[in-house]
Subunit: 267 residues, 2 copies
Amino acid sequence: MTSYVHGYSEKESCRLADQAGTLTELLHGDIGYPAGSRVLEAGCGVGAQTLTLSRSSPEARFECVDISKASLNAAQQMAANQRLANVTFRQGDIYRLPFRADSFDHVFVCFVLEHLSDPLEALIELRRVLKPGGTLIAIEGDHGSFYCHPQSRAADLAVQCLVNIQAKAGGDALIGRRLYPLLREAGYAGVAVFPRMVYVDASRPALVDGFTRKTFTAMVEGVKDQALEIGLIDRKTWDQGIADLYRTTQADGTFCYTFFKGVGIKR
Amino acid sequence: MTSYVHGYSEKESCRLADQAGTLTELLHGDIGYPAGSRVLEAGCGVGAQTLTLSRSSPEARFECVDISKASLNAAQQMAANQRLANVTFRQGDIYRLPFRADSFDHVFVCFVLEHLSDPLEALIELRRVLKPGGTLIAIEGDHGSFYCHPQSRAADLAVQCLVNIQAKAGGDALIGRRLYPLLREAGYAGVAVFPRMVYVDASRPALVDGFTRKTFTAMVEGVKDQALEIGLIDRKTWDQGIADLYRTTQADGTFCYTFFKGVGIKR
């Protein structure tokens, strides 16, 4: 099991729900699974994407797997609260899924590969449980796609802490740009990758608040203690970096980040 | 007059024509000017965008201004060769345009502001010659939006040479992210900025060749002598950086760059 950079705190659950809310249209807008199809959500975590999947495709059946029992409990609670009738949860390891080959019509994986020490192996395992002709959708971020105005070296360094901490934990926060070769190497056919860029300026107040503040900057702030403790950055630079990230939410600021959505087929 | 980083060689003219060809749909796809409207293209250069404007809006009249007589001659030759009937050319300074206030229905400016030492002043002057209710469209790149797989520190440093050389010449190769505040500060109303991201992988061979190789990498290579001469980079790192840029055109490589299109209205 790879350690999970973002942690499992309640605040983190809120952040993931916020993230899912703001990004729903951008990331899920073109996803709809047919009635009766059996869909695996691998690495569902606390269910932030599960909620959207379930509602967007009410006639499909989602089987959601995560390695963390605590996350699954939170996801199950959410599903009960939201009365999601087409979702079941099961503990399992993405490298050795508790399913036979050719079990699923489709596979969905979102913000998971970035945390894995061997995303290629996971994609191969996901292909195993996919039926021939079925699709895999993989959505990941890429923290190297971040830039902003006013430019700030301190903000860049704070974001780089997140990248370094993810790398130390065995993951890759720059995985978005690698989706295409990973999906190809894992044996998927018809691979296509689509960038989903989030551009934020003062004319888009929902993104200023929902993405710049509550998703991205909150995520960076989440590694503060770790970053300072292991000496990745000094406190003054860190504070300046976070202040500069918030600075981009002012009337003349802009903020850019790109997610990547990859699609592949099992032949 | 600001010195023009990319130079005025014949090779450069070819690169700009290539660039205009590959990017036409991405940048011009949603631009169409009404019949009879009088449109200013400020900083037309050798006419790479003029050709697309003229053909996309055959009933509009374009008046194209550039400060360089050599570029205007090339643009005029192009327009004659292509039999563009709705285009005229005139030498002029973007800071002091040879037109009365409220002259144009629309203004179009593309890959120009990045080269100016005072883009705000230029945008204010462009607003002066715009009729009330008329729109300005500004399209610019942002070299800080570049990233690729495989990642390469040398490639980043080579691209940074271009940014530094543009800055030394008084320009800003990172202006894309600044379009929103610039347009607002210049007094435009209803300002909206739209990123136009170019994502390239092996499944998009026209972009691999037309954008990664012939547009972006060719542009970086264009500053080689200058970069080495003023000691911005050593020859070995430069050669590695260029090799790594070409490396992204292989089957497992990916390449990202983002243009920004800003729109504003004169109230």
